[in-house]
Structures are given as C-alpha cells and as structure tokens.
C-alpha cells in the first residue's frame, strides 16, 4: 500500500512520518519511533497493554489507525516520567508490587493517568471499573490498588509541600 506523509505529535515532539494508510498507531509507535513501551499482547483491544493517551483520553493504540491521530497530542508511557525521574504512579507501582512481569504495566499506568486526570480522588469501585479495561495475569490487581492509593497520597503531599 502506498505510504502517506503524516505528522504525529508524540510526547510533545512533532514527527513527520510516512506510513501506510492501514498502519495502526501501535505499530508506528513501536516500529517507526522505537517507542516500544506500549505493548502488543492481543491484537484486538481486549487487553489494554497498548494503551496511550490521545488528548488525555486513554485509547488502545492497537486498533487505531495512525493517520487518524494527526493533530492530536499523543502521550505514551515514555512521556510519563517527569524530567527523567519516576512519576509518583510509576514509583508506587514499583514499591507496592503493582508490576510483576511488567508487560501490562505501561498500559495500566496510562489508564490510571487518564483516570486520575478525570477523577483525582477515585473510590475503590471507580479504580476497579477504570482498570477493567486492562488485563494483567500476574498480580491479581490487589497490589495495584495499594499503589494507586499511595500515588494519590504522594502527589497530594508533594503538591502540599510546594505550596
């Protein structure tokens, strides 16, 4: 298929890319931009390992055409670390055992980012409902709830200190 030239803004950087019209965003991120943090685990948007943020909304990049994402702000897991250090949620996932094999972790963190942007103080039911878009086979999810709670607390304390 003949390639088309598109511009994608990924993690704040604008990339000019030639992609096939049927290329999915996940493949373009992984193969063209070497942003391999987003994972392919199911091919049919059932597991959420490929979750990225499109204008702040969590979307599964494995079933989304790259050319349809022009003009939108794409955030991948590589764009989550703040100034080269771990964001609160990343630190908490490590400390509380929210990540074991780590393959689903980038997708979960993107989902949590999107949840917290919308609802900074989610109840456990809210968290469960939000996380149900992603699958994990290692953790049984329990330790993720602890991690998310602790990240919210850390964020809050962090912002209280700077005030």
């Amino acid at each position: 298929m003949k390639k088309e030239l598109i511009e994608l803004r990924v993690n704040g950087r604008l990339h000019e890319l030639a992609v096939e019209p049927n290329a999915v965003l996940l493949d373009v991120l992984r193969q063209e931009l070497q942003l391999t943090g987003s994972k392919r685990a199911c091919d049919d948007s059932s597991c959420g390992a490929c979750t990225v943020l499109l204008d702040g909304v969590a979307m599964m990049s494995c079933t989304m055409l790259a050319i349809s994402c022009e003009g939108q702000e794409i955030t991948t897991i590589e764009g989550v670390s703040e100034h080269g250090s771990l964001a609160a949620i990343q630190k908490a996932y490590g400390d509380w055992g929210g990540a074991q094999c780590g393959f689903c972790t980038p997708g979960f963190i993107m989902t949590v980012k999107s949840l917290l942007a919308e609802n900074p103080d989610p109840s456990e039911a809210d968290v469960r409902a939000a996380l149900s878009s992603n699958l994990c086979r290692c953790t049984g999810y329990n330790q993720m709830y602890d991690a998310i709670r602790s990240a919210i607390k850390a964020e809050r304390e962090g912002s209280a200190v700077t005030k």
Partner: protein
C-alpha cells in the same frame, strides 16, 4: 530471630523502573539491522498426512527472502529426553489444528502473511481423536506410530495397603471430577529473534545468538543444538525481560527453533512473534483431567486410604506430559499423612495442541478433587472441614509413604491463621442463604530434586565478581520472568556481603556469561539459585574477611559485615549493635566521615583508594575498628589478587525420593504449604458465582521480600479463581472456540476478589535464610476452597471446573430433581450430535468458523452440508 538489613524488608524489584517507564526491552522490542519478520503456516486439520508441500509461488513473491519447511530441519526434539516427538516444522504429518508447517521470512509482516496464502499443501485427512477416553481405545491411525492406544505413558503406583485402608474406613466417598483445560495466557506473546554471525575463519555462518522469551535459556540452547546439529558452545541464548511465563515458556516452543531454522535459510536475522491466537494454539497449558477419586476416612477424621485414577488429555505431543502425570500422583502425598495410596495415571494423546507445565504443574486438578472430597467426607462424619484437615497432619521431619522427605511444615499454622483471620468458626454455616465459606489446603515443591536431564551437574551455579570499585556483580542463569528472581539474587548477595542493594548488579540468563542453571520452573529459583548465590557470596566474603582481619589485626570470626562496612564485633564503633539495638548502626556515609577523622599517614582516606596499594598500605598501618566495604575489597584484591566466588546447589541425596518407577518426580528439598478460606455468593436464579474475599496463608519458609511474596500469593489465588470460575479452553472437533483473552475470560479487576495474603514462616533448615517457594503452591487450594464455599452457600457440590453459571444451574436443578437443562444443545446447527462436556457455550450462537470443504465435522453434519 536474626536481624537482617536487606532481606525481610519490602523491596521494590531491581528492575521496577525499567518496567514502569517502558524502557525495559522484551524480545519483541528488539530490532537488528536487516532483520526479517517470520510468519508460520499452521495446519487447518487436526490430523492429516502431508502429501506434498509447494512453496514456489510464495518464494516468488517480492519481499520474501526464504520459506523454511520441515525438510530444512528434519530432527526431532522435545523437552523431556523420553519425549522427542516434535519436528520444528512438520515433516510427514500434522497432529493438531495449529501444527507448524512452514515459515516465511520476509521484509514485512504484511508480505509474510500474503506469502503464507501462496504455499500449496496437499493433505490426506485422517480420523482424529479429541476425547482422551476414546483416544485410549484407538487401534488404527495412531497419532504417533510408536505409541499404541495413543497412550503417552501410564503409571500404576501402590503405597501401603489401600484395600486394607478402605476396609478400615468408616466412610468412603467415590466420585468423578473433571477439570477442564486452561492455559497460561501470559501477557507477553512468545517471541524469538535469531541471528547468525559470520565466522571470520571460514567465512560461513557460524555462531548463533537467540533472544527469546524463555524461562529456561539452557534448555533452549540444548534443543537448538540438537535440531540445528550445532555444538552448544556455538549457540548463545539471551533472555531479555520476559512478560510472564507461568510454565508456558518453560519448554521450547516451536517458534524458538523455527526462527533459528528460518534465519539459517534466509541468511539474515529473523524475528517471530506469535499473535495472541497463535499463543493459544501453542498452548502447553494444564490438561483437561478426569479424576476418579476414592477416599476413606474413619469417624475420628483420619484418612485411611486414597485411590485415584487420573486421565489427562495431553494433546498431540509429549511435552512435559510424563512429568505432569507423575506429579498428579506423587503430590497426593506430602500434604497430609495418608498411609495408603493407590494411583493409576494415564497421559493420553489427542489431536489438540500439546499440554505442558502450568503453575502448580500436575497437582492442581487432583487437589481440587481431593479437597472437595475431603469436604464431603467431613460433612458425612459431622466434622468441621478445618478440623478434619488438622486431624491428618504429617509429623515432620518424616518421609511420606511415597518417599517424599518433609522437613519444614507450616501447614498447621497456615490453617490456624487463615481460620482466625476469616472468622471461620464464628461465620461458617451462619451466612445468609446463597453465601458461604469454604476451606482448602495445598502444597508445592521448591524445585524438583531431580532434573529432567539426568546428570550429576548442580541445578544452579552462581558466580560473583567484585572489583576495586566495590561493585558486586552476580552472574546467574536463573531467569527473571516477573517473579522477582533478580531481586531475590541481589538481596541474598547484599545481605551476605553486608553491602547495600544498589551496589549489586545481577547479570542473568545469558548462556555466554552466566553459569548453567536449569531455569525458572517448578518454583526452584529461590531455593536453588538462592542457595547457590548464598554460597558464592559466602566464598567471596571469606576472602574479604581474611584481608580485613589482617588489616584490623583481629580474628576473622570477630568481623561483621553490614551497611557497606566491615567492623569488629567488639570494637567501639559497634557499641549500639552489641548493646542490643536492632537498628543498623551508622550509614555507610556517616561511617566514612568518622573514619576520615582518624589520623592516617596521608591525611586522606576518601578518594585515595584507587591511587595505588603502596599509599593504601601506609595509610592503613594502624589497625582499625572498621573499614568501608570498598576499603575491605581493595585490601582483599591486593591480598588475594582477584575477588571472585562461585557457589552451586544440588539437592541432597536423601531428598531425591524412592526407588520405584517414576519416583524421580515429586521429591523436592522442601515443600511450601497453603491454606485458604474463600467467601462466595451464588445467585440461584442465574447460577453466577461471585468470590468476595479469599484469605490465603502461605508457608514460604522465610519471606525474603514480603511485597513479592504477597504478590505471588495474590497472583496464584487469582489465577486459581480464574480456573475455578471462568477460564476454559472450549474445543469443538479440535478447533479452539475461544482463542482470545476476552473470549477465554481472563478475569478483569471488576471480577477479581480481595485477597488477604498471610505469610507464614517455617524457616526451612536447607533453604537460603530458611526460604522456600511461594509462587505456585497457593494456586491449587483456591479452586476447591471456592467449590467448598459454593457447597456451603447453596448445598450443591460441583464436580467439574470451571463453575460456570450453566454448570451451577444444572447442579441446582439436579438437586431439585428437575429435568436437567441442556443449555447448549440445538443452538449451534454444526454442533456435534452429542454435547461434549468440554464444548459449547451459552454465548456462542453463531455457526462457528468457516470450515474447509474436507473438514470431517462438515462432512459428517447430519441433514446435508451446511452453506
């Protein structure tokens, strides 16, 4: 209890940041210049002879570099030495839908997929076997010619006197249990990248490097060497990050060898990554198991005898099958004290993907049957289900009737803690209707005492190197697959050497760099690689201590290593330590500051250590009470020349089991124990079961990293719950009906219960710091705990897992003597005339996938051919 500075404290995994930032590389994230994409052609028939295979049209397609077929590597292999029955690409016959026929290496995935359609294969379709009990009666068209009756292996064990045991029993229960097939479905699909180097001397392709998502680099290296007919030393296997294994990556999966065969033919690096559907076809999960179980108890609760006949639907190849069927029988022992055991196990071949090892290998389905039956017997003799378990405890140290050595045994404490935490005594049987509690126990090995490759080599070897910078590098062949193996290794090394965790770097699972280790399976890593690490670290520590003692002018025995410092136990700097304060005395930095105040010849301490040993020598003329870790290391290197240590572990001879045929499987140097209480509710109108909470106590010997131990317990319980309620591979005439993560119904966060992990530490005498396994043992108890809770809730006992709404409703109706509802018959026009217990789903209303004109199911459809 000894005071530790590193172990026993919740520690983030050493690779946590790589995982949470997405920076870590898994196999599919790797890329080499000129790399090709490999795609595999799979068989559409469950059983067929290959009459011809023509790849010319595919090869002519622009962008296709090579097409590999069976003739390119006509050598058999298999994970077990007794089961070499697989070709990387089928040579004469395909044996399941999904069997591997050819591999296209092309410049892009799209071209490779197109080329697959251009490969012409002529088949002669053969009758296929899907039901293990029917397959056992087969006399013609055998799946493997050398396996009469399609029987892979059968074992018949008698321990004690079962007949007498049953004669002594007051109550005997007998029933058939069925546990349907489940698979690992690890989040990372299998992936392999293979690349040949050109030999500078011959100018021909020489050494092979393979990056693969494997739990056992060493086995992969071994099988590659067999199939490619290359010496092992010419093959390097590297394990990048692995996205979960659960046993699915513990053996050589066809793509791992196919990638190398294709790379050899294409003369370019080839990467193959399975699609999710291919992962389901590759399978190697837990077989569908039919268990005919008979248990006798006395009125006082004592078990007198157990008789089990187990039939496993093993799929088309041996895989780990012989080991699985042995585990099913062997681990009837070592949990409770059972004086008489009879076991008949049959591993049967069928035309479905091969089953292999999966978390709780071989023990899970039998444990479901046993614990359910024990619950039934407790009800019959009017005893509390927790009590009957406490009546049948082993009295360790002991050797069970089937030859398993048990030393540490935390089961009583597990039962007690889980009963207390769940409020069992107050709440059991007093829940409102439709809600209930159930208890069950399980156990698992901490590594097999006998390796599947018979040899006298140690099961684990670890090397440690420390250089003048004070950095500790640990080389281990153990594979981190998400369970925390690298972190455990670093913790044990740091604890032993008294240095901080950040000082330790673990180089793991690279066959060129790391010594042989038989990998991450059967929960062996903490016990075996952990012990090897401990021994290697102790060896290095001895060298450092000798040099430090000389410097400090004291006996080696007076030295203590802690917090990056080596100090004399009775020195002044050690007063708060000997004063009984359990907290670490001074941080490394503070200690160094203190040292800097002491007079030395040069007047400097910090920063000088690399300037040369002469200055160092002058500076250190005065005996000191303590040295920093770097100073001690430099002194040791000056003294000994180099600072390396090696440790290895082989299970002791008396832990290796009895002498009977098949005795090699089951023995372990230590067993973990688990007791669980599940609270469920059952909707009697819909048959839906909800698990609200599981209390899971697990005896892991010692929790080296509590956050990881809890994670493993919760993960095991969760996976057990999946098998208990939703997960099932649904087959129809050899076709998998649900090859997707949603269709397979892996539970999501809204379906997952709260799990309260309870750590029990029995301190095993041989484990590293007393540690045993914690990753698998908890899984098996969850299924019967849920089954028993369903019985408590609504009074029906379920004999077939998963306990789907259909099965629960059928059981509820059967109890009311109502006509059983057959919910699946008649919905699907192409359905077999007889409802298979393992086929059919309420949700499936379509006609199924388009079937090939020659498909046996299509031709046999009653009432003419479907459209």
């Amino acid at each position: 209890m000894t005071d530790f500075s590193i172990i026993g404290k919740p520690t983030a995994m050493v690779d946590a940041a790589e995982k949470t930032t997405g920076a870590g590389k898994y196999t599919d994230d790797l890329c080499l210049p000129g790399m090709l994409v490999g795609k595999i052609l799979h068989s559409p028939y469950p059983h067929a002879r290959i009459k011809s295979i023509d790849t010319t049209r595919a090869e002519r397609l622009d962008g296709v570099v090579a097409v590999a077929i069976g003739k390119d590597a006509p050598k058999t292999y298999g994970i077990l030495p007794v089961g070499h029955d697989e070709y990387p690409l089928a040579l004469d016959k395909v044996r399941y839908v999904g069997d591997n026929l050819a591999c296209v290496a092309a410049i892009s995935e799209g071209i490779a997929e197109k080329a697959l359609e251009l490969i012409d294969v002529d088949y002669e379709v053969l009758p296929a076997y899907f039901d293990p009990e029917q397959s056992m009666m087969a006399e013609t068209n055998l799946i493997h010619d050398h396996k009469p009756n399609n029987l892979e292996k059968d074992y018949h064990h008698v321990f004690g006197n079962p007949d007498q045991g049953f004669a002594e029993a007051d109550q005997i229960a007998e029933a058939r249990f069925i546990a349907n097939e489940v698979t690992h479905a690890a989040m990372e699909p299998h992936s392999t990248l293979a690349s040949f180097e050109i030999d500078p001397h011959t100018g021909q392709p020489g050494r092979l490097t393979v990056w693969s998502s494997t739990q056992v680099p060493y086995y992969l290296q071994h099988k590659l060497s067999l199939v490619l007919e290359m010496p092992m030393q010419q093959i390097r296997v590297i394990k990048p990050l692995v996205g979960g294994g659960f046993g699915g990556k513990s053996e050589v999966i066809p793509l791992e060898i196919i990638a190398a065969v294709a790379a050899r033919k294409a003369r370019a690096p080839v990467k193959i990554t399975y699609t999710r559907e291919e992962v389901f076809w590759a399978h190697r999960g837990r077989p569908r198991t039919i268990i005919d179980l008979k248990t006798g108890v006395k009125n006082d609760g004592r078990i007198t005898a157990v008789k089990a006949r187990v039939v496993q639907d093993g799929g088309a190849y041996c895989s780990y099958g012989v080991v699985t069927i042995l585990y099913s029988g062997a681990l009837l022992g070592a949990l409770y004290d059972i004086p008489n055991i009879q076991y008949d196990g049959y591993r049967v071949l069928t035309n479905k993907p091969a089953c292999g090892a999966m978390r709780g290998h071989g023990t899970v389905n039998v444990r479901f049957a046993f614990e359910s039956q024990l619950d039934e017997l407790a009800a019959r003799i009017g005893m509390d289900p927790a009590e009957i378990r406490l009546c049948n405890l082993l009295k360790p140290p002991c050797i069970t009737v089937n030859g398993l050595r048990v030393q540490s045994y935390g089961l009583p404490e597990c039962i007690e803690k889980t009963v207390n935490r769940s409020g069992w005594r107050e709440r059991k049987g007093k829940r409102p209707r439709g809600r209930g509690l159930g208890i069950a126990c399980s156990h698992y090995v901490s590594g097999a005492a006998n390796s599947i490759i018979r040899s006298d080599m140690p099961h684990s070897t670890v090397n440690i190197k420390i250089d003048r910078d004070g950095g500790v590098v640990v080389y281990t062949g153990a594979s981190e697959i998400g369970q925390g193996s690298d972190t455990m290794t670093a913790q044990i090394a740091a604890e032993t050497l008294g240095c901080s965790l950040s000082r330790v770097r673990v180089i793991a699972a690279d066959t060129d760099l790391t010594p042989i280790d038989i990998g991450s399976y059967s929960s062996r890593v903490t016990f075996m690689a952990g012990n090897a690490t401990l021994r290697a670290a102790e060896e290095v520590k001895k060298l450092i201590a000798a040099a430090a003692a000389r410097k400090m002018d004291c006996a080696i025995g007076d030295l203590q290593f802690r917090n990056d410092t080596v100090f004399r136990k009775n020195g002044h700097a050690n007063q708060n330590e000997s004063g009984g304060d359990s907290r670490p005395r001074l941080s490394g930095l503070a200690q160094r500051r203190e040292d800097a105040l002491q007079p030395t010849v040069s007047g400097h301490v910090e920063g000088q250590i690399l300037r040369g040993s002469l200055q160092q020598k002058r500076k250190d003329e005065f005996p000191k009470n303590s040295m920093t870790f770097e100073e001690a290391v430099v002194a040791a290197i000056d003294f000994h020349g180099a600072l390396t240590g090696t440790g290895s572990y082989a299970p002791p001879q008396d832990a290796r089991g009895g002498k009977h045929k098949g005795a090699g499987v089951g023995p372990s140097p230590a067993y973990s124990y688990s007791a669980q209480v599940a609270e469920v509710s059952v909707d009697e109108d819909t048959g839906e079961v909800t698990v609200h909470k599981v209390w899971a106590a697990h005896d892991c010997g010692r929790a080296l990293n509590p956050v990881s131990v809890e994670g493993q317990i919760i993960g095991s319980v969760w996976m057990g719950m999946g098998q208990a309620l939703t997960e099932e591979m649904i087959w129809k005439d050899g076709m998998l009906m649900n090859p997707g993560l949603l269709e397979y119904r892996s539970p999501s966060s809204v379906e997952s219960p709260a799990v309260e992990p309870i750590i029990v530490e029995s301190l095993d005498p041989e484990g590293p710091f007393g540690a045993k396994e914690c990753s698998e043992g908890s899984l098996a108890a969850t299924i019967p705990a849920i089954a028993n809770a369903i019985y408590d809730a609504v009074g029906v006992r379920l004999y077939e897992s998963p306990f789907t709404p259909e099965r629960v409703l059928a059981a509820l109706r059967a109890r009311k003597n109502a006509k059983p509802l057959n919910l699946t018959e008649g919905i699907d026009p192409t359905a077999p005339t007889r409802f298979r217990e393992h086929g059919g789903s309420l949700c499936f209303k379509g006609k199924g996938p388009e079937r090939h004109a020659l498909d046996p199911a299509r031709r046999e459809t009653p009432g003419g051919s479907p459209k």
